[in-house]
Subunit: 214 residues, 2 copies
DNA sequence: GTTAAAACTAGGGTTTTCACCCATTTATAA
DNA sequence: TTATAAATGGGTGAAAACCCTAGTTTTAAC
């Protein structure tokens, strides 16, 4: 039996969800909350398998609720529900532990499918949401490929040094690891600074990670 | 008119693609290649709008070809074609500039849709490929959420300082920007080192970027 | 097969960061 | 109310990073 908590401040919508789910014999709606704190309070006493969580909740918003639930109760999975298919919101709540994201115009069958998938340990997104994520993913790649192309070649030794710098080793430690002089490592650092047009270690690490040349 | 180059070492498959596409009056198959170098040579003389590129090509493999084409001829879009729906391959070729990825069991209509989408500047992926990407995306998030949870709270001022450190400003410059003393900034740096358990600036930047707290 | 460019090596001198030590004032939470 | 954390600032000294120069070796190009 899949136990569910519904969190939505629009009573009518929450009731609608409940009546849809009551038709399913393997699903029970344990309770309904109308704000973020209600969810936190409910979880302090009882547990459920799935929380259907409206992103725009009064008081404590959905993203904060999701973060707290995901860290405190990792066995409870959150499916975010929203009117909006905005990339920033989707990304934000997924980064905070939501296992699914469906839009409010989602049909009965899709909702039940989403719940079953998430219970099975998978994730589920509405078709439109998937498109949004993929679009933003491709934009990221476009940018990273662009910046990649202007990067000059980093030599084998320089790459070794860079890797160790990112791993927080000091110049002396790197010298010992590579069996070369402190001064040689400093030399490689200088070349790296010039090639990557960085001003200091911070820049080296940032550029190394942005272009993952580690 | 959309001009296409087909690159696949299985002649029969390449011919099949060609005959499918010949039925479309807005599409012309300009040529077919059977290895990676053939693609590079062809592009040196003529240009096309789309390359349907098999990932597993003899000689120069599809990923290298894709990288070279995407950087040299950004107007030519690459759609990767493969038998396999493996996350590592998909990620690799997308990172090297492919605009689409379809499986070899893709039907006629879907192939044509993919071509039209990519020509229009969008990207296209088979349903199965999309699922694979989303799955790996969620695994990444799962890991990053895990590591996030052990991070202590960074205060507002510390976050400001951290952001400027990542942007390659020196302590003195940060002090000037925030209208506070050099010593205060050093104080914040120390707190950051302790809280994020980093040894030096490199660690601060790495952790800041890994957990994107910028 | 010479030549030029890049890579790898390293020393001297300067600037920045870091590690301790400390203190005051102001929010925030228990 | 009483700690606890945040934000501010100071001094000293060591360690690390950075800048400039320069020799040898390897690689690439002509």
């Amino acid at each position: 039996m899949i136990e569910i908590l519904i969190a939505d401040d629009h009573a009518m919508f929450a009731d609608g969800l409940e009546s849809i789910l009551e038709g399913q014999e393997e699903i029970t709606v344990k309770s309904k909350c109308h704000d973020g704190n209600g969810v936190i309070d409910y979880m302090a006493d009882s547990k459920v398998d799935i929380i259907l969580l409206d992103v725009n909740l009064p008081g404590m918003n959905g993203i904060e609720v999701c973060k707290e639930i995901s860290t405190k109760y990792p066995d409870t999975k959150v499916i975010a529900i929203s009117m909006f298919n905005e990339e920033s919101i989707v990304t934000e709540i997924l980064n905070n532990g939501a296992k699914g994201y469906i839009l409010k115009n989602t049909g009965r069958e899709e909702l039940i499918l989403a719940i079953k998938k998430v219970v099975a340990g998978e994730s589920y997104f509405s078709k439109e949401v998937t498109e949004t994520i993929m679009k933003s993913l491709m934009n990221q790649r476009k940018n990273s490929v662009k910046s990649n192309s202007i990067l000059p070649k980093i030599s084998r030794r320089e790459k070794e040094v860079l890797k160790l710098i990112v791993e927080e080793f000091t110049t002396q430690e790197i010298a010992d690891k590579l069996f070369i002089s402190l001064k040689t490592v400093e030399s490689h650092r200088s070349s790296l600074l010039a090639k990557l047009s960085a001003r200091n270690t911070a820049g080296l690490v940032r550029i190394a990670m942005e272009n993952n040349l580690i």
